[in-house]
Amino acid sequence: MSAILEIFAAIPYDQVLIQTVNGIVTGMILALVASGLTLIFGIMDVVNFAHGELFMLGAYIGVVVLATTGSFWLALLIATLIVALLGAALQIVTLRPLLGRDPLTTILATFGVSLVLQNYALWQFGPVARKIQEPITGSFQLLYLEYPWYRLLIAALSAAIIGALWLFLKFGTWGIWIRAATQDRVMAQAMGIPVPWVHTGVFAIGAGMAAASGVLFGPLVGVTHAMGLDWVLKAFIVVVVGGMGNLGGSIAAAVFISLLEAYASIWVSPAQAVIVSFVVLILTLLIRPTGLFVPTPK
């Protein structure tokens, strides 16, 4: 009994609280990035390697709109819409012609697009990092830390955007078409659903969500051509663990993995805590390759 009490006494509760908040906030940002990625995979079977560059492009467009209008919210909205349109154009030009071909070709195509976009950003905007001013400043005392309100706002906005997407998929006409195309592409087409346009729409939505996350995350890091790299690597892990193409699973996996990493970082260095994500990824692939958060088929 005393040993158990000693273990409980040894837990640094201040760290547990701080890391819980960190884990949830990071998880929600990650969920927003991963939801676009998983949506595109679920409908189109396309692993979008350009997702990080769409994230970065959204942030750059946010910088330009913010400088012009002075409104963060307008920057968020316009960047999302522009990158969604760009996503639609990219899908029509690069991915639609590859429909039905070996999935490797789409991987190569999106990888090519990622290189083009990254170098375009470097050429167009230059190497100097840009700033997106956060819409709210200030912080609250979280034990020994001053925790910025803006981080909580990002988590709330990510939840709101994902919630809106869920409502759209559940009740919107296009949402129903998207779900139908996910379940059975051929049958959906036979029923008169314009599947090629559904694909275009899905890619646009995924691109728009990447752009929104780029604008939201911009104030924390500064906007550079390489800002999407770190997030997209994690988002890929989340998508696999959550179940490729499973939106709810990806959100759950994002929060789950972020919390696991956050708790692990209490006892080990956060750099080593990242190993936890990879362990979960490997275990998922070994034990439940369809994803941890996918319901077992009956």
Partner: protein, 432 residues
């Protein structure tokens, strides 16, 4: 119209008169080519004088390091253009062969090998990320090519991993620590926590500061390493707490991220905030805004015209570099230390090549001897100030500037003479 007809006529004459046929033209071409190949040796030597020196430069022009690599390249190009305008080196022009290491050590090493084997470079000036400099060092050594390290600050490059072929005409971590530690301990606080970029340069800089802060009478109570390229540093930074006076940051390409997030979590209000000047590099200031106010740093170069940097040579350098930077970045940033050290490294090489009468790779040993102990005098070639390349380890010592960010600008707080940055050599060259 008449002219056109005349032209047509003369063209017709030329091709159809029977004097010049396609067959004859090919024959003459072959003859000229053969004569060039078979020309006697003295002629070849005479033509060889006009042959440009091929100078390779490896920089991170894509990937996360491109933020600094792009400005670094400006420095090399600026020096090369200036050299060519003033008649070249030993009467021969300079041709830059640029290679992009993509911010990856394996790619860097492959590109270095390509510069050696395919591009047949005479020397190399460049290197930005220390892990890439370390990966490429054996390539230069094996090919017996002089390698002028222009940015990489990792300590081991001129200590435990030094070799006869590599030179660093700028500063390195121990020299910065020797220069900065007394100020940190005497002016800012005794107890420090170091937060650093967790790779070769960051680790060696951490070690240097631990030693020098202790030597100055202070104490390092903790250190937090953050992997290169980490976008969200909050899990790392939120673990930093306790009783100490100051937080010392050692970051370069992630300077904006750490600057923003350290401020957001209130650490800059709780502790004194100091660190490597790369955090507050001129190219980072726009993205940091007022979050970097009050930061105290050390740097070998600042883009300000005040104190010892208020010289005509520096003004000229600053103006020309600013014009060039504006061409690659519409915000028009001021030059950073990467522009400066690449510019000066190229000029150091020029001095060495002139002194040794360098002709090509066959004269590498002569060039090495000329560079060992090379003295560089403040002026148009070296606007940062005087420097000497120490013979024992091929490491230069330069004056350092301790600065504070006030009103969004660098203000020099103290200038540390190069003699006060000296650190004993710890290099034993491998036998050739």
């Amino acid at each position: 119209m008449a002219n056109d007809l005349n032209d047509q006529d003369s063209s017709y004459e030329f091709w159809r008169s029977g004097k010049v046929t396609r067959r004859r033209l090919v024959g003459w071409g072959a003859g000229v080519l053969g004569a060039t190949i078979l020309a006697p040796a003295p002629w070849r030597a005479a033509f060889g004088q006009a042959k440009p020196y091929k100078i390779g430069t490896i920089q991170p022009l894509s990937g996360p390091g491109a933020v600094g690599g792009k400005t670094a390249l400006i420095g090399v190009q600026m020096a090369a253009d200036r050299i060519n305008k003033s008649g070249g080196i030993n009467g021969r022009p300079v041709e830059l062969v640029v290679a992009d290491d993509e911010s990856k050590p394996d790619v860097g090493r492959r590109k270095a090998q390509k510069l050696v084997d395919d591009d047949k470079i005479d020397v190399q000036v460049g290197g930005f990320l220390s892990n890439i400099c370390l990966a490429c060092m054996p390539v230069w050594e094996e090919a017996r090519i002089v390698n002028i390290i222009s940015v990489c600050l990792d300590t081991t490059l001129t200590t435990s991993k030094c070799n006869r072929y590599s030179f660093r005409p700028s500063d390195y971590a121990p020299a910065q620590a020797v220069a900065f530690a007394p100020y940190l301990v005497n002016q800012m606080g005794k107890k420090w926590h170091i937060v650093f970029a967790d790779y070769a340069w960051g680790q060696s800089t951490r070690d240097a500061y631990v030693a020098q802060i202790r030597k100055a009478g202070g104490e390092v109570v903790g250190a937090t390493g953050i992997p290169l390229g980490t976008a969200d540093m909050t899990p790392f930074l939120s673990k930093i707490s306790g009783n100490f006076d100051g937080l010392l940051g050692v970051f370069a390409t992630d300077g904006v991220t750490v600057g923003n997030q350290v401020y957001d979590l209130g650490l800059t209000r709780k502790y004194k905030w100091a660190g490597d000047g790369a955090i507050a590099e001129s190219t980072n200031l726009p993205a940091l805004g007022n979050k970097i106010e009050g930061f105290v740093g050390i740097n070998r170069y600042l883009p300000v015209l005040e104190g010892p940097l208020d010289t005509p040579a520096h003004r000229k350098f600053l103006e020309e570099a600013s014009v060039r930077l504006k061409k690659i970045d519409p915000t028009g940033p001021l030059p950073d230390r990467y522009v400066q050290s690449n510019y000066e490294s190229m000029n150091a090489l020029k001095l060495g090549m002139e002194k040794s009468g360098f002709r090509g790779r066959e004269d590498t040993m002569k060039l090495i001897e000329a560079l060992e102990g090379l003295e560089m005098k403040e002026g148009d070639d070296f606007p940062q100030g005087d420097k000497v390349l120490r013979k024992e380890d091929h490491q230069a010592f330069v004056r350092e500037f301790i600065f504070e960010i006030r009103g969004g600008r660098h203000r020099i707080v103290e200038t540390v003479a190069k003699e006060k940055t000296l650190f004993p050599p710890a290099c034993k060259f491998p036998a050739a």
